[in-house]
Symmetry: C2
Subunit: 417 residues, 2 copies
């Protein structure tokens, strides 16, 4: 359904040397996709006139829209502006709007503009100036028949602000692109192939103009529904209707939508029910407390954590019975149960959460292999435990355990409602 | 000095849609750079024959070496193999080595090979098979005069193993590339411009064939020294000599080299001196414990942590004097000092580390703005404290505080030696 084609040209030696990952072009791709514009190709070239001109010429033959990032700073090694001036056979002139923008930035900083800085306000005469609300380098828009060339700064924050507020609306207007509506459905606690089997019939019955993509990541699978059309409201309604049909089938695995994060959703559930938690972490070593406290406002429901990495700390600080550890080991259902119950009591919370396991690579025994991890949640009445059998990799084990415990908490909070 | 040119072609609709970041091409660029091969361009195209053929034709005109990743799976939408077969005007034949590799993988899994899987062992007749030691899709190497085309799987682990063990050595041999020696010098506790000023004279005196690059990241700056030449041992010696000249100037900021991580270096220093630590984290919420425990073997020196996120937990669990908090507040030199001293006593460690501050975005007062953070280290004799004035961003404040505290610990351990 998309027939407006675009190419993204990224300029920068540092990308070709492998010093930085080009995350800009991923972000631009996703924005164009949402706007109904298909990215046909991405090209990265270095800071040389020959390479930039070559890439522009080739792209012009292939696509209608050419988006260029990088090479717009004030120093001599930034080539994009002189090269575009040459490519469009025009000349650099002082742009009054760009100069006013520059002046206001330097006024705020309480500094005078130097001649080198002032040159940033010179733009090719034939271009339309795209304002930069958060930086000094203006964007440039060139119309050439039905083709459009847009040059943007490489600084991600400046480029994103310019794309969202100026460039995407202008492109949508010029090319009368269809409206595209994306909705992410975020699931946890089920693998990609099991999820695909579970929702097979629903997927088959999706209308042809709603596309489904599976986007798996560590211990989570996102479903992306995409719909194209002319009427925004009917598209949104249609996609929401399909999600309503999905809920009776896979609802218990769905924790949120779009930008929702699991730790944030669990936090909202705790906050809205006036409940709070504390976490005792052995093998996860503080990572779950970190995930929870990375959410602004988490002090409303998180009273604190403890990481008793050694057995005597489990005994002295968390009051785990030494006989429990002696008889069953630190990695056992019995120990993780006491950890969860005791952190709940010591921190005076509604729920106590705990982890204990072999994150690896060392510490395994024949009975307790790397990746054997116990998790638990105590609520004062009963304590729910779960045994995870994970991988060989320490980092993956820590992160997967965190997601499993947060999901166990989410499921526990759903029971209350 | 580099005159062998390469282009990286990445194949995959998911990259053009903006669903994933292409991290493969960054890694490949850095490997080629190390091997003395210059990446002239990177191109990403979708899963269509026309686009792939177009990209191959254009690249062949520009460069000697064309490295292709992606599109090598067993399913129908993976096009690279049939397209290469067509491009080189050859045919698919069963490759005995590839089949043997596939057989051994399925034997390990205890599964039978299906016909669909068996097709993975069919390769273009004119290519040299590149073994895949960690997966089922073989690599393909095509010689065409002085040009080389190499096709690799898109799965990062498989691609990296194949590049390192097979492809880079073969390319170095075919193109007789110069030896390139890179060394990263990792610094902490000094900003990029201050570091540049400090080492200005040293930098100016570097021999012309040793290049210096500043690679800044959050609260750290890496210096990369690069040297080209024919004799590996003399290159290494020369770079090491320059680093020896750098040490008297900037040594106290240098914590390691190449792949060293700060938490790992601090851990090694503790382990080698038979000392251990415990951490009490308020504003960092468990992140420092997580960083420390992400290092395998950290249980040798990390006895545990505590995250007393509320004042009463600081008082009851960590025995901070309630009057201290009442008089000076939780974010104060007095409170962070007691936190560090008490976690040391309670966990029976050589050092107690602590953080308390306003991570933001909420919680600030006129006297205590967002980004005001205290850190402390207690050793039983005296307690060293430091006030940080950081940024508006919660995530950056947490991560910068962690680096600052680990660096304070590193500097403290250096005093002992």
């Amino acid at each position: 359904m998309i027939n407006i084609l675009a190419e993204i040209i990224t300029i920068g030696d540092e990308i070709l040397y492998g010093q930085i990952v080009d995350t800009n072009s991923k972000w631009i791709s996703a924005e164009l996709d949402k706007a109904g514009i298909k990215v046909l190709r991405k090209t990265t070239v270095g800071d040389t006139e020959e390479e930039i001109i070559g890439a522009l010429k080739e792209a012009e033959k292939r696509v209608e829209i050419i988006l260029i990032t990088g090479g717009l700073g004030p120093t001599n090694d930034d080539l994009t502006k002189p090269v575009l001036t040459k490519y469009f056979n025009t000349k650099l002139v002082m742009n009054a709007d760009a100069l006013a923008n520059l002046q206001s930035i330097y006024d705020t900083l309480g500094k005078d503009i130097t001649d080198l800085n002032r040159k940033q306000a010179e733009l090719p005469e034939s271009c339309k100036m795209i304002p930069n609300k958060v930086g000094s380098a203006s964007g440039m828009w060139f119309d050439k028949g039905n083709s459009t060339f847009v040059s943007m700064p490489g600084v991600p924050y400046e480029m994103k602000t310019m794309m969202t507020s100026e460039i995407v609306p202008l492109l949508r207007k010029k090319y009368k692109t269809p409206f595209i509506y994306h909705k992410l459905v975020k699931t946890v606690g089920i693998g990609e192939s099991d999820l695909a089997t579970l929702i097979k019939k629903w997927e088959k019955n999706l209308p042809e103009h709603i596309k489904l993509a599976y986007l798996p990541s560590l211990a989570q699978v996102k479903l992306r529904l995409t719909s194209f059309g002319k009427d925004k409201n009917s598209l949104i309604k249609e996609v929401d209707n399909q999600i309503n049909l999905l809920k009776p089938i896979a609802g218990k695995f769905i924790y949120g939508y779009d930008k929702d994060e699991l730790a944030e959703i669990v936090g909202q559930m705790l906050k809205s029910t006036n409940q709070n938690i504390a976490v005792a972490e052995s093998c996860t070593g503080g990572y779950i407390s970190h995930l929870i406290t990375s959410i602004p406002g988490s002090s409303a429901y998180f009273r604190g954590g403890i990481t008793p990495y050694q057995n005597d700390i489990k005994i002295n600080m968390l009051h785990v019975n030494s006989e429990t550890i002696f008889e069953h080991g630190a990695v056992s259902e019995e120990t993780v149960t006491e950890m969860a119950e005791n952190v709940r009591k010591l921190y005076h919370t509604d729920f106590g959460l705990a982890t204990s396991g072999i994150a690896g690579p060392s510490g395994a025994t024949p009975e307790k292999p790397v990746g054997m991890i116990w998790i638990a949640i105590a609520d004062g009445k009963k304590t729910k435990t779960k045994l995870l059998q994970l991988w060989k990799d320490r980092d993956m084990n820590i992160k997967t355990t965190a997601i499993a415990l947060l999901n166990l908490m989410r499921r526990r909070l759903l029971e209350n409602n």
